[in-house]
Symmetry: C2
Subunit: 589 residues, 2 copies
């Protein structure tokens, strides 16, 4: 209790643990970390891996390929999780830390003296109390206990305890967030002693990143994984193909990427994919691949035009949500063979790194099947059984490969398909969709586009002809306005879900679509607003009184998290000016 | 006429001259530029200056200081304008150019063969037909003829003709926008022969950048100047002080920045200011300083608390538009002395680089004068004569220093002050404010916040207490939503202005305020949306038929300009995905 008292008396705003732990007690004593701090994991001293972070990306990728051999079919190990987390910890503490001047009154003497304490943190004890499950780096939701506890005594003894390696990694992430850079270059915490117990509210905490509409180099994706892990997200959903480009190489179907990519070299080879998947797995971020189908597939037409109906119709709005129109034909043996080949090639390369495969299924436009020579109808009575068979085949393939299917809500709620009880439904259109999904007994992911789509609000990307222009003024996009962090933070995944069904809400995802996003602005589009979702998913949308969490305490914490992201090389936007963060609650209403 | 025909037949979308020239004829022949291209200026061969661009910023700044001596009181010369423009031209052509794959069908063979032409551009002839006016780098609106003509013959002869050095510089900017990077590293144009005649519609084309609410290093400001010049903007208005911080050093009042800056070192010394001003002047971008008063001054209270009324009141919304509240006292001899000292110190350092000084005057809150011990009233009948005297004194000082005052619209339209006919009024609240300003015979700058404020739409930066939170949901900011480029492009500075008074509209400014902007995201907040305003101000909002300009032709041009900005190190956002720019008008409605 005395720690709580100290907290409220002395530490009013500088508490940058994001997302908020389940319980947290802090003091006000200063402790520096020794530059040669070592880590003892279940009694064994650990040496941080010399790679990958210190190497330029290309070297790192090449090293990975040479070590992993053909396509890198190797599970990521628990030991790699621990080693990677330790390496990241020392890098964050000593190379990517920040001086917190923005969180103290201007020109104040806020830094502790270098001799403020006789004690140093020289060792961090990592105690894993149970053996990891075999699938610790590629779990189904709930398979891994991500909880941890963390203590730092005023004598410098620091201990992280968890039942899994992932829990240890989360504890180390939290550990780094207790420390600031001293002007001298040292790292210190002003919060000793510290006692934290922590566990996530939701099991699936993800970002969906569209790497089809714009090209992202592998380094853009691994930078995103680093930022996700630092926010305790545990899933990166790669929306890796769409109508606009097909960047993933499928060796059995080489023309797909060769012709469907935006540009030569703008493709992800199997080796590159394994590198990205392993990069995520090593950081507790399971990479889930989505091949969206049957809609959003017209980039296949560059290589296999006979498989796509309604390709790139001039009157695209009749056939698709956006240009180019096009859909896999719905009653085509050619499509079946194509997908068999695709799945048999790709899914074995997914299995080492994930337990899921996302088969898409959003925004299927029935009119496209009027132009499908295997169907010639937009009558859902005709289309629905064909769609059922299409999805059944796909999900059978996914299961045969040892994976669990994920599908967009439309397959269940719009098309009324009968889906296996294992299928996870990704909702996006409304809170009602979540309630309907769980009421049908399915596991659901949330991510209502009215709140959690990060790309909204930048205006239309369509060009309007002069005749039509005035009618579309002032050119807002379909999900405008931009969803600010406060709004995202107020979104509760359990809104409207019956109490007896909340266990079916596995968690959710924020989404970054790439109509107007590419590597130049993706960091700013995602961060720090995605942090708001990270805290909702880790800590829950409501506080201990069942109320929405207070912006007054969250805001300075988020501003500090933003500085930590910037220090780690992520171009996160500011949310308040230094005047506000330097002055407690003076920017409040 | 044959050039026009060629244009319409063969060159459908790749025409990245931004802003659009007055007239333009292009062919379809390829010409490469020789890597050792030289420039002959009125018969004399030019050597591009070895600095400043190739040097790290700090070195460059130090060199400038050592060359300029005390405070750098030296006018920028015409020769420096020419030399800087040539240097920038070669750098843009050969080091900061881009391969235009995004503007050609995917995997198409769009690049010309290296031997596509026997002719090369080996010399660019720069012909200045008149001597520059003495104030060429610090003009009042209209003092400099910025027009130019540009021709490139198929035999490789390239000529830019203008009556001023600034016109030559604009011509060189346009010149670079005709060229692409070849995969071999060479630079080529596919558009020869070229004939362009060009002149600006408006004389004042600016960006207002708030460098008080957030700290921007000098290199952030010079990067902005480079981007402005590349868009043929000719003014950078630095809103250099505000309530939140006072970063500009005033040697006669050293405590101002020492205490009012956010952090030690986060100040602009006179030498640094001279460097920035000269950097702008050399590129045709006149740097105009604003010391906003009497409101927006509470950062003075950190050093001179006796001069500020209503400083940082807890109930700030009663006294100011945003925290912290505070205003210079309105009837105080101390304030008069302070401002005399300030003006006498600062204005002589403005004079070498600008003909303007902006005295602010926006958002004065009358309630603050209830707490002003020299007034003790919020009655405008009492306040108005005092405000008249306050502004008269300030403007007298500005004029005595050889400068022309600029003031925000409120001084004229809200306070009904009698202002000298020389005073330029900066409007921001409405189109009506422009019409009212010119109807009173004043010169006006436009920049309606509903269209041309670049910071809008990112949500509230105020924190809401739990009790108030629901009432403010979904937390939009006062000028939401974000103003997209299409909307900004449709804004006409002459909207509602009587035809006989349009000559009083000097031009306008886009604005980037820094409540939620800092160096990490400023590029994305400003670019490429500010380009839309650049074209409105340079080319006019209407086309040759008096209609709004077409998005269909502007959009691919703007996408290409965006790529040019990115190649030059400016983190401009994308506005369309490559699918759209690769495919002509397929993303149009």
């Amino acid at each position: 209790m005395s720690f709580y008292l100290l907290l409220s008396l002395f530490v009013t705003q500088v508490l940058a643990i994001w997302p908020l732990p389940s319980s947290m007690m802090m003091g006000e004593e200063v402790l520096f970390v020794d530059r040669t701090v070592n880590f003892i994991y279940n009694g064994a001293a650990q040496v941080a891996l010399p790679q990958p972070e210190q190497m330029p990306f290309e070297q790192d990728l090449n090293l990975f390929i040479s070590q992993q051999g053909n396509y890198g079919h190797h599970n990521t190990s628990s030991q790699k999780v621990i080693s990677t987390a330790i390496k990241s910890t020392t890098q964050t503490l000593f190379e990517q830390n920040f001086v917190p001047w923005k969180f103290h009154p201007r020109h104040s003497d806020f830094e502790p003296a270098m001799n403020a304490s006789c004690n140093y943190i020289k060792t961090v004890y990592l105690k894993q109390t149970e053996a990891d499950p075999a699938n610790v780096t590629k779990p189904l939701a709930g398979d891994v206990d991500e909880s941890y506890s963390l203590s730092i005594a005023t004598n410098g003894r620091a201990t992280i305890t968890a039942s899994s390696s992932i829990g240890i990694a989360h504890g180390l992430t939290t550990f780094t967030q207790l420390f600031y850079k001293h002007s001298s270059g040292a790292a210190y915490t002003p919060y000793a002693p510290v006692n934290i117990k922590d566990a996530p509210k939701f099991q699936h905490r993800g970002l969906n990143m569209d790497v089809s509409r714009a090209w992202y180099a592998p380094a853009d994706i691994t930078r995103m994984i680093d930022a996700l892990a630092y926010n305790k997200f545990n899933r990166l959903h790669l929306h890796i193909t769409d109508a606009q480009s097909w960047p993933i190489e499928i060796p059995a179907l080489p023309m797909l990427a060769e012709k469907g990519s935006y540009r030569e070299g703008f493709t992800y080879s199997p080796q590159t994919m394994a590198y990205i998947q392993d990069y995520g797995a090593s950081r507790g971020v399971e990479v889930i691949l989505e091949i969206d189908m049957p809609g959003h597939t017209s980039s296949i037409a560059y290589s296999y035009p006979e498989l796509i109906a309604a390709f790139n119709e001039k009157d695209w709005s009749t056939y698709a949500a956006e240009p180019p129109s096009g859909t896999l034909k719905l009653n085509s043996s050619g499509v079946t063979e194509f997908l068999d080949t695709l799945f048999e090639d790709l899914l074995p390369r997914v299995l080492p790194y994930s337990s899921y495969f996302h088969t898409g299924g959003d925004e299927v436009n029935v009119n496209a099947y009027n132009l499908d020579d295997t169907v010639r109808s937009n009558d859902t009575a005709i289309l629905q059984p064909l769609m059922q068979a299409f999805v059944d085949r796909a999900h059978t393939k996914v299961r045969a490969a040892g994976l669990t299917p994920i599908a967009w809500e439309e397959m269940l709620l719009t098309w009324n398909l009968t889906l296996g009880s294992d299928v996870v439904i990704q909702t996006w259109q409304s809170d009602e969709a979540v309630a309907q999904t769980v009421s049908k007994g399915h596991k659901a992911l949330v991510g209502n586009y009215n709140y959690w789509y990060l790309d909204c609000g930048h205006g239309q990307w369509l060009d309007f002809y002069p005749d039509a222009s005035q009618a579309y003024y002032p050119y807002y996009d379909y999900c405008a306005p931009l969803h600010n962090w406060r709004m995202m933070y107020a979104y509760d995944p359990l809104e409207g879900v019956p109490a007896n069904l909340t266990h079916l809400v596995l968690g959710g995802e924020v989404h970054i679509w790439s109509e107007q996003t590419d590597p130049v602005n993706v960091d700013r589009q995602v961060w720090p607003r995605a942090c708001a979702a990270a805290e909702v998913l880790w800590s829950g949308a409501k506080d201990e009184h069942g109320q929405n969490r207070s912006q007054i305490t969250a805001s300075p914490r988020l501003s500090e998290m933003r500085e930590r992201l910037v220090a780690r090389g992520v171009g996160a936007e500011p949310i308040q000016m230094p005047f506000c963060t330097q002055n407690g609650t003076q920017c409040a209403l």
